[in-house]
Each structure stands twice: as C-alpha cells, then as structure tokens.
C-alpha cells in the first residue's frame, strides 16, 4: 500500500465531508449519555473511528494532524486520573468513594444528574485515545517488517 500518499483522490475528498459527521455523532453520544442509550464507551469508540478514518485515507501526510503516540499515552492516563480523582474528591469530603456530590438537577435536562456527565467524558477520553493507540502500535509492528526488508 502506498503509505506516503494515502488513498486515491476520491477517498480523500469524501473523507473531508464524513470525518466531521462521525466525530459529531460521537460527541452527541457522549454528551447525552445520561439521557439516552450510549455513554462514554460507545462515544469514545466512535471518535477513535474518526481518527482511524483520517489516518487510513491520508496516510503519512504531514498536514493532517492526528494525536501521535506520546500524546495518546498521556491523554489516556489523564482520563483515568480524572475518573479516580472525582472519587477521591468525594472521599475527602467524608462520603464513600464515587458519591454523586454535585446537585442532581431536574429530569431530562442536559446538565443534570451530578457527576455522571464528567465521568462519561473521562471514559470517552481514555477509550478514544486507547483504541487509536492500539491501532497505531499494531500498524507500527507491520511497518517494522517492511522496513527490515
């Protein structure tokens, strides 16, 4: 596969339209995780899919900015630390671990139900960068072989 140049011109043109649709759908799933089915995990997977879509279509083009390996490692750790950090904040206030200490709001609102949207965001951060990192590292193993030949 021609890795330096990516795929053909038709694929690149259509990618410019579809990538932001996929990422918008992922953000919708994360933000409404406490109202409709979805949540952090599925939203994170869809955002990772949008990054993979970009990488597959454009190859190693320097103008297309996706998170690299170092940034993905750091963001993944930050996601987990936010999650556990919210639990520890509840413990400092004297309640058990992971209590919902922010006010719950009214039914069916977007900004309701306490700490759950923040936890959704932390999980989405970890899952999206984690899956994209797994993809990048597996692709790197294949290319080590090709460069050795």
């Amino acid at each position: 596969m021609n890795d330096k140049k990516g795929m053909t011109l038709i694929v690149k043109t259509i990618t410019r339209f579809t990538v932001w649709l996929i990422m918008l759908y992922g953000i919708y799933l994360i933000a409404h995780g406490h109202l409709t089915p979805g949540g952090g995990f599925v939203g994170g997977l869809v955002i990772a899919l949008s990054f993979i879509h970009l990488t597959l279509a454009f190859g190693k083009d320097k103008e297309v900015k996706v998170p690299g390996i170092h940034l993905s490692h750091s963001l993944e750790a930050v996601g987990v630390l936010i999650y556990i950090g919210l639990g520890i904040v509840a413990m400092v206030a004297g309640l058990p671990f992971l209590t919902n200490f922010i006010g719950k709001g009214s039914l069916f609102d977007l900004f309701s139900s306490g700490t759950i949207p923040i936890l959704n965001f932390a999980i989405a951060l970890k899952v999206s960068t984690g899956v994209f990192l797994a993809y990048l590292l597996l692709v790197l193993i294949e290319h080590e072989d090709e460069e050795e030949e």
Binding site: A77, V80, L81, G87, I88, P96, F97, L98, T99
Partner: protein, 487 residues
C-alpha cells in the same frame, strides 16, 4: 474507609507511571516501590482492626446494598491480603536490579501495578460480578507480562494461556448469569442467605468448578501452567505461581463453594479426586524436566493439588491445612522462582544439564532452604502444613488419598534433590548479581522459618484459627448483609 485504598493506590500508581515514567526511567521503579510499601503497611493493620470491630463492610457511592457494590473484608480476605502484599513487595525489590536488561521499564512496572490492583480487588470484593471484573483486569495484565521478553516461545506460551483463560472466563460469566437468574441478587452475602433449587445448583457448580479450576491448575486443565510460568520474567513468575493461582483459584473456590453457595457433597468429591490426580501428575511430569523453571511449574501444579485436597475434605482440620499450605507455598515457591531467575542470570541458561557452577553463596543457600522447605523437611514450615493435610485425610477416613499424599511427598523430595545436585557444581569463581536481588532472597529465606512458628499454639489461636472459623461459619457471613444494609 481503609478498604477502598487497596484498589485505588495501585491503579493511580499504574497511570502515574504511564504519565511520568516514560521520560525518566528511575521514577517508575521508585513509585512502585513506594506504593507497595504503603500497601504492606495497610494490610498489616487489617488484622487488629477486624479483631476489634468485626468484618469491615464498605459500600461505594453512598447507596445501601443490595443496590450498590460493596467491599467486604473478613479474616479470610485479610489473610490473603497479607500474602499478596508481602510477595508483591519482595518482587518489586527484586525487580529494581532485574529489569535493567529490558528496554521499556515503565511498561513492566505499569503492568505489574495493574496486576496488583486486580488481585487486591478480587480479594476484598463483596459482589459476584465485581469479582469477575477484577479477575479479568489481573488476567489481561498477566497475558501481556508473560509475553514481555520478546522471544518466539514466549509469544506462543502467552497465546496458549490467553485462549484457555478466556474460555474459562466465559464459563464463569455463564455461571454468574445462572446464579442471578436463580436468586435475583448479585451480592455475595445476600446469595448465601437465600437458596436456589437443587438442579440449578448442580449446573452452577459445574460451570464454576471448570472456570475456577482452570485458574487454579486442577488436573485436566493444567497444561497452560508449565508453558506460561517459565516464560514470564522471574519476579512476575514469582507473583504468578506464588499468588495468582491461589487468589484466583483456591480463594475463589473457598469463597464461592463454601460461603456463597450451599455446600454439596458432589463438589467435595470432585475436588478430592482431581486434587489428588493433579498432585500425582505434577510430580511425575516434574521428574523428567531439564529446564529448571519448567520443573518448578510442574511442582506448582503438584502443590496446588495438596491445597485442593485440603479444601475438598471440608472439615476444620482440612481447611486449616489448606490455608497454612497456601501461606507456606506462596513464600517457598516465590523464593524458588526468584532463585531460578538469579541462577539464570549467572549461568546464562535454564537447562539443568548445561549448568557449570557459576552461582554465588547466597543464592546457593537460599535455594537449599527453599527446596528442603517445599519437600517437607522438619524445621521449615512446609513440613507442618503437609503433615496437617495428611492427618486430616486420615481422620476423615480417606486413607487412599493420604497414602498418595505421602508418596507424592517422597517424589517431591526426589526431584528437588536431583535439581540441587545438577544446578550447583563445584567451581571456584562465582559471578556477581545486584544487591536488590540478594536482599529479597535473604528476606524470603528467613520467612520460610518464620512461618513454621505460626504452628505454635499461642500464635495459632490469634491468626490461623480465626481464618478457619470464618470459613466454616456461614451464618455469620450471611448476617453481614444486615450490617451493610443498615437493618
């Protein structure tokens, strides 16, 4: 309050190592050393707390059980926590000089901390599905750690282990679904207060016995162990063979079959039969091995057979022998695996036929102590625990199993003496190993003599008898549900 720290501390350390340990390699080692020292101190505080106030029940998220996940620490969990923290601390001390030959130290320490978080979670959880989740966390960390040294045989061994592990995890999940459909609850204390139908009990027992039996290397399902345990780096082999097969295997079997579900005679018979078979098969296969770590792997299969024999007898004396042997074997097998790692560094090979006597005096003496201890020679602890298991077998009328236990004990002494003769030939210039390896070997060797002191009647009452009382008292465990629900 103290209960949730056991899971939070290793998880936070694992991800702090990913965040900061990639640039500066020494931070990874010192962070994990710091975390395991704190865990050791916390788990030493557990027994005095439980003796004063009874079992600790801690609900997450400020809801009452059965609507939330709970953490329960009673005497059995506190006992397993002490074993896990001790072996983890000594393995990390050993690893500081051992992992200098790998390229990515931060990956090793981060995976080790994840394994520790999973093991701690399995020990202290009070919810059946939470047990499954923490078990999977620990297992995925071990699949990656077994393949850490990147040679071809290590990948093959890890693949075999991963496939068999995932089959058994799927069977356990099936069993959890059946338990939920029978009793409509997942909290372990509430299930032990309710009861299900007898036909359902047989199905659930069969699924759980296959699933947890594979994790504890029972006879037909043991073939992953002699490939997976030698392929891991030596401190991880010590954790795997000394702690993982006991926490995920023997502890889970005791908790699920004797405290959550109703005790049934069929489970006892199966555990006795397959425990004895794995004792025998492990000993026979170990005699023919040339690779030192593979021989130690088969010896692990054999000693787990002793523990399963003790559990299957289902008398207080049998449980006492099994628990005492869990403690002794954890210390002794970790000592032997760490020794095998040191021998491999000095000799350059793991093949017993090609060893040339390059080892230095501390490794030699600690290997002698470990090998004699595990074969059941008197002043070491292993003698007392094997004696109690055989006496328990005789006193419940199972004479055949007691005789096979004695024969396997003699065979164990046989192959360990053969290993000692081949590994240590007389040569005058020993090579050097790092100082942290020597520290952990010496501490573990002293512990093999200290555990024999636990048999003395004064210390026995305060420590091991309380654990046995906790196992045999099923109503007290079911009554903890009322404590947690605030009734």
């Amino acid at each position: 309050m103290i209960a949730s720290y056991f899971v939070i501390i290793p998880l936070v350390t694992a991800f702090l190592i990913v965040l900061f340990g990639r640039k500066a390699e020494k931070i990874a080692g010192y962070l994990s050393l710091f975390a395991t020292i704190i865990l050791m101190w916390l788990s030493a505080l557990l027994f005095p707390i439980i003796n004063i106030q009874g079992a600790i029940v801690y609900q997450l998220s400020d809801w009452k059980i059965p609507y939330t996940i709970s953490l329960v620490i009673d005497h059995l969990s506190a006992f397993m926590m002490i074993i896990i923290s001790l072996i983890a601390l000594l393995s990390i001390i050993y690893s500081i000089n051992y992992v200098k030959k790998f390229t990515s130290n931060w990956g090793y320490y981060s995976l080790f901390m994840l394994l520790l978080a999973g093991l701690n979670g399995v020990t202290i959880t009070g919810d059946l599905f939470n047990l499954f989740v923490f078990m999977e966390i620990a297992l995925i960390a071990t699949y990656a750690l077994v393949a850490f040294q990147g040679k071809a045989e290590h990948y093959e061994a890890s693949f075999k282990y991963a496939i068999m592990g995932s089959i058994s995890s799927t069977l356990i999940l099936f069993g959890i679904g059946c338990v939920y459909s029978m009793t409509s609850s997942l909290t372990m204390m509430q299930i032990s207060a309710r009861s299900g139908s007898t036909a359902g009990l047989y199905l659930v027992s069969a699924l759980f016995l296959t699933g947890f039996g594979l994790k504890s290397a029972m006879f037909p399902l043991h073939s992953w162990l002699p490939d997976a345990h030698p392929s891991a780096p030596s401190p991880v082999s010590a954790m795997l063979s000394g702690v993982l097969i006991k926490v995920l295997g023997a502890y889970a079997i005791i908790r699920v079959f004797y405290m959550v579900l109703e005790p049934s005679k069929m489970v006892n018979e199966v555990l006795l039969l397959f425990g004895t078979l794995s004792m025998f098969v492990g000993a026979i296969m170990a005699i023919a091995q040339k690779d030192i770590k593979r021989m130690l792997g088969f010896s692990s299969v054999s000693q787990m057979g002793y523990i399963l024999l003790g559990i299957g007898l289902a008398t207080p004396l049998g449980f006492f022998g099994a628990i005492y042997h869990i403690l002794n074997h954890a210390v002794l097998k970790s000592l032997l695996f760490l020794d095998a790692g040191a021998i491999e560094e000095m000799e350059g090979t793991r093949n017993l036929e090609k060893m040339q006597g390059n080892t230095e005096p501390i490794t030699k003496s600690t290997t002698y102590m470990g090998a004699l201890g595990i074969s059941g020679v008197p002043p070491f602890g292993g003698f007392f625990s094997k004696l109690i298991i055989i006496v328990a077998a005789i006193s419940s009328g199972r004479y055949i199993y007691a005789i096979i236990g004695l024969i396997v004990g003699v065979m164990t002494l046989g192959y360990y003496l053969g290993m000692l003769k081949k590994a240590f030939k007389e040569k005058k210039e020993p090579k050097k190993i790092g100082i942290s390896l020597k520290i952990s070997l010496v501490i573990l060797a002293c512990l093999t003599l200290v555990t024999a002191l636990l048999f003395v009647p004064g210390l026995r009452e305060g420590f091991l008898n309380k654990v046995v009382d906790c196992i045999t008292d099923r109503e007290a465990y079911a009554a903890l549900f009322k404590v947690g629900a605030g009734l």
